[in-house]
């Protein structure tokens, strides 16, 4: 066995460039989307300009982008945790919804005079507990009955929206509401926010803290090592004295709890009451964020902010240059495909292409 000496300048340059393949993918995706938008008589440069401006062009835009990134980062980090622990949770959407419910229940039970410093943490803990409770059924079914958690969590997504709506229309509902929602929680429940920065609320700090915690737990703390071992090789971890079932359960519970936290932060950051549909799509988008990060907590913050900015930018397009809203999900789709293609090329093909070129010469 011998190692070939690392050679040549050009190859290294290309390799370094491809380290940034997700970024390149995103840029190519934007260009592709711009071409498509030309169908609608929108000039590509205007389009890209407007998209960037809507995403990051002003303090307000940045605030909006970060606000949107907040739940993505929390849920994304939680999802990578569960994934590394060997579970495939697809129920983020539902767990996020239930988190909001937990927050609402606490906020409606606590006396109205509770100061913010007590009320908000308690409410968020309520959200986490609710998220964890909601994920217990798939855990139970998987551990006790061997039922695949993917199916159950998927189904429970639908249930969560319905449960929230049912409660908001039923026992928790505000009488005479113009749309289904609960009573307002009260001023003290609103997360502190900066109006001038697009109502950026403190949730982003919670999100970053969660992501850092996840990174710490997974790459620094020995527990993370054990969990990763259990996730990637249950048999070997058993031999090493780790119980993969326990790891699975804890990973899933943590995922549920943090999804609940994300739902709670989203609710308290944006609204002052629980309403049906308040977190539509957050779970799915966060799953995408987690996947884009390569299921690595380290990548969740950039991926979350990227996706938050993309979302904000894309949804501002209709306002700024009148791109039909129907196109927005197409643009989102194109960009995701390009980003994952970039990643895949770097991971699987780049080396081969480079060496092939060389042998041809």
């Amino acid at each position: 066995m011998s190692i070939k000496g690392t050679s040549k300048d050009k190859k290294n340059v290309i390799e370094t460039i491809f380290r940034f393949s997700p970024v390149i993918g995103a840029v190519i995706g934007l260009l592709a989307a711009a071409l498509f938008v030309m169908l609608y008589n929108v000039d590509p440069i205007t389009f890209i300009g407007a998209l960037c401006k809507g995403a990051l062009g002003s303090a307000k835009a940045i605030g909006n982008s970060l606000n949107r990134a907040t739940p993505y980062i929390i849920v994304g980090a939680a999802t990578t945790i569960a994934f590394k622990c060997g579970s495939m949770n697809m129920g983020q959407e539902g767990q996020v919804f239930m988190g909001g419910l937990g927050v609402a229940v606490v906020a409606l039970i606590l006396p109205s005079g509770t100061p913010a410093l007590i009320a908000i943490p308690l409410a968020l803990i309520g959200g986490m507990i609710m998220g964890a409770i909601f994920i217990s059924l798939p855990i139970f079914l998987r551990v006790k009955r061997g039922v695949n958690e993917v199916v159950v969590t998927l189904i429970m997504n639908y249930m969560a929206t319905l449960i929230v709506s049912a409660l908001v229309v039923g026992p928790l509902g505000k009488v005479g509401a113009s749309y289904p929602c609960t009573e307002n929680f009260g001023e003290q429940y609103s997360l502190f926010n900066w109006k001038s920065v697009g109502h950026l609320h403190v949730g982003i700090f919670i999100a970053i803290a969660v992501a850092i915690l996840a990174i710490y737990m997974f790459w620094v703390n020995p527990i993370g090592l054990k969990a990763r071992a259990a996730g990637s090789s249950p048999a070997a971890s058993l031999t090493a004295g780790i119980n993969p079932t326990k790891v699975f359960i804890i990973g899933m519970l943590v995922n549920g709890a943090f999804c609940g936290l994300a739902g709670g932060v989203e609710l308290l950051g944006r609204y002052n009451n629980l309403r049906g549909g308040y977190a539509d799509g957050i779970g799915w988008d966060s799953l995408i964020v987690a996947l884009l990060s390569g299921m690595n907590p380290k990548g969740v913050i950039p991926a979350g902010i990227f996706f938050g900015a993309l979302f904000t930018g894309v949804s501002s397009l209709q306002r700024s240059i009148g791109v039909p809203s129907a196109l927005l999900s197409l643009i989102k789709g194109i960009i995701i495909v390009c980003v994952v293609t970039g990643t895949a090329i770097e991971k699987y093909h780049l080396n081969r292409w480079l060496t092939k070129k060389k042998t041809v010469k």
Partner: protein, 508 residues
């Protein structure tokens, strides 16, 4: 030119990233010969064969088939030419039946219903002709490794290959099964077919092969005819490129206190295994107890039972006088013991994680690896690199993922982890499986060193030779029971052979 050669590989080069696995290798196989391909672990034998079979693409070089230059781009084409291959790591679909595995990829009957009855009949015929004892409808995952190996053989035979590549086919076979296989090989040879035979067991190579090619470090270093004056030592030296001492030097055994005491332990079997029944044994400091037995007689079950990986139905386990029967695996891991499980890729290593992480996986929260709060990456790396040097682990770096190591090196890493510190008890199951001579001897030395440092060693193996060489006491495992145990001096091959077959033999 007359086509004396069935296949000629010329100047084959194959790289994996920066690693050159085959470097300008040329190999010639005659018609109707059994050609051995030897080399240390990681020499590039399997890679070369995979290139020939079309499973790997090659970077450079040409292949001639009966004198004709051909370009085999996929196994599909190789199979069409008449090349069959039995892979080192079985290429079987575990969830499928034997019959389905044999049928897989056969061209006849595209788009149509699988001619089940016909195939079953043919399998039975083959099985009878070659004495393979195959059950066509059994599910592969329920078979022992030996049986799986035979399925691989049937698969290859079924295709009437002209050239049969066998990558370590005897690694998991019992001597009897190996004998059976050699008969098959002779038969094929007489039918004019060629066989490439890869093995680390030099006696059998000397017994059956007509020609021998030796690889070292990705290069073909020697080609020789199998003549009378060849012997194991010569082969071994050619393989490693230096003088090897194949003697096992053993000091006298001086047993000390009881380290492990098993009192009538039992557990149920799972899948193909037979479980353990009423097993009692005492292990003393400073001795190696070898457990012989045909594979599938409860070896894995026994070791897992001791490690707390199985539910114990009856009995009691004591470690240095302390009852550990109720302890979890985690708690047992806290004791001073080393455990080398049977299936290294599945149970001992985490292939997707780095060597450093693999090294600290048992006790990541203890010195020198880290504290409860944080891993100490620096000291882990340091420790790993030190141990890698000590145990001779060859790898790009300590950051390499476990799965990229060659089998021998994986095993050494496991040894380094489990026996890197002084321990009181060693449980080793098939630790030399698939290892080359050098590595095998390294394992022997490590075991002996552990023994001399005062550990009790339970050495479980199917290789009688090894057990006889290494052990101070020898026990025989049959259907999950201890068939008998005797001091090494009283052990005779015939007696143990009978016991392994389940015969009751008087033991003094």
């Amino acid at each position: 030119m007359d086509n004396e050669y069935m296949v000629e590989m010329r100047h084959i080069t194959k790289t994996f990233g920066k690693l050159v696995a085959n470097n300008d290798v040329s190999l010639k196989i005659k018609k109707g010969e059994i050609h051995a391909l030897l080399g240390e672990n990681g020499a590039g034998k399997s890679t070369l064969m995979n290139v020939l079979y079309g499973l790997y693409g090659k970077d450079k070089g040409t292949v001639l088939w009966n004198g004709q230059e051909i370009n085999i781009k996929s196994p599909d084409e190789a199979i069409k030419l008449g090349i069959g291959m039995i892979h080192q790591h079985f290429m079987l679909v575990n969830k499928f039946s034997v019959l389905e595995n044999v049928t897989l990829g056969i061209k006849e009957g595209k788009w149509i219903e699988i001619p089940t009855d016909e195939i079953r009949k043919k399998i039975m015929e083959l099985s009878d002709t070659y004495g393979l004892n195959i059950k066509p409808d059994a599910i592969v995952e329920n078979l022992t490794v030996g049986e799986q190996q035979r399925v691989e053989i049937v698969k290859a035979l079924y295709r009437h290959s002209e050239l049969l590549i066998m990558d370590e086919p005897t690694a998991v076979l019992t001597p009897q099964e190996a004998k059976q296989l050699f008969k098959v090989l002779y038969k094929l040879k007489n039918e004019g077919k060629s066989i490439i035979f890869i093995s680390h067991k030099l006696p059998e190579v000397l017994e059956i092969c007509d020609a021998i090619s030796i690889m070292r470090d990705g290069c073909l270093v020697e080609e020789m005819e199998n003549t009378e004056d060849l012997d194991e030592a010569k082969l071994a030296n050619a393989m490693v490129g230096r003088e090897l001492n194949l003697e096992v030097v053993k000091s006298k055994c001086e047993p000390g206190e009881v380290v492990l005491k098993l009192e009538g332990i039992s557990c149920d079997g799972i899948n193909a295994s037979c479980g353990v029944t009423d097993f009692s044994l005492e292990l003393y400091r400073g001795e190696i107890v070898g457990l012989a037995g045909v594979d599938g007689n409860g070896q894995t079950d026994l070791s897992e039972l001791i490690m707390g990986l199985r539910k114990m139905t009856t009995g009691k386990i004591e470690f240095l006088g302390q009852d550990i029967s109720k302890m979890t695996t985690k708690q047992r891991r806290e004791l001073s013991l080393g455990y080398i499980p049977a299936d290294r890729l599945k149970s001992a290593m985490i292939p997707s994680m780095s060597l450093t992480m693999n090294m600290c996986i048992n006790k990541p929260d203890q010195a020198p690896f880290g504290t409860k709060w944080a891993l100490n990456q620096k000291s882990i790396t340091e420790y790993t690199e030190r141990k890698m040097k000590e145990f001779n682990v060859v790898a790009k770096s300590s950051g390499e993922v476990g799965g990229n190591l060659s089998g021998g090196n994986q095993q050494k890493l496991v040894l380094a982890r489990e026996l890197g510190e002084k321990v009181d008890l060693v449980i080793a199951v098939y630790p030399t499986r698939g290892l080359d001579i050098d590595a095998t001897h390294f394992v022997f030395d490590t075991m002996l060193k552990a023994r001399d440092e005062g550990a009790a060693v339970l050495y479980i193996s199917t290789e009688l030779e090894e057990i006889l060489q290494l052990s101070d006491r020898i026990g025989v495992l049959y259907e999950g029971r201890l068939q008998g145990i005797m001091p090494q001096q009283e052990a005779e091959v015939t007696k143990i052979g009978l016991m392994m077959a389940g015969r009751e033999v008087e033991v003094k």
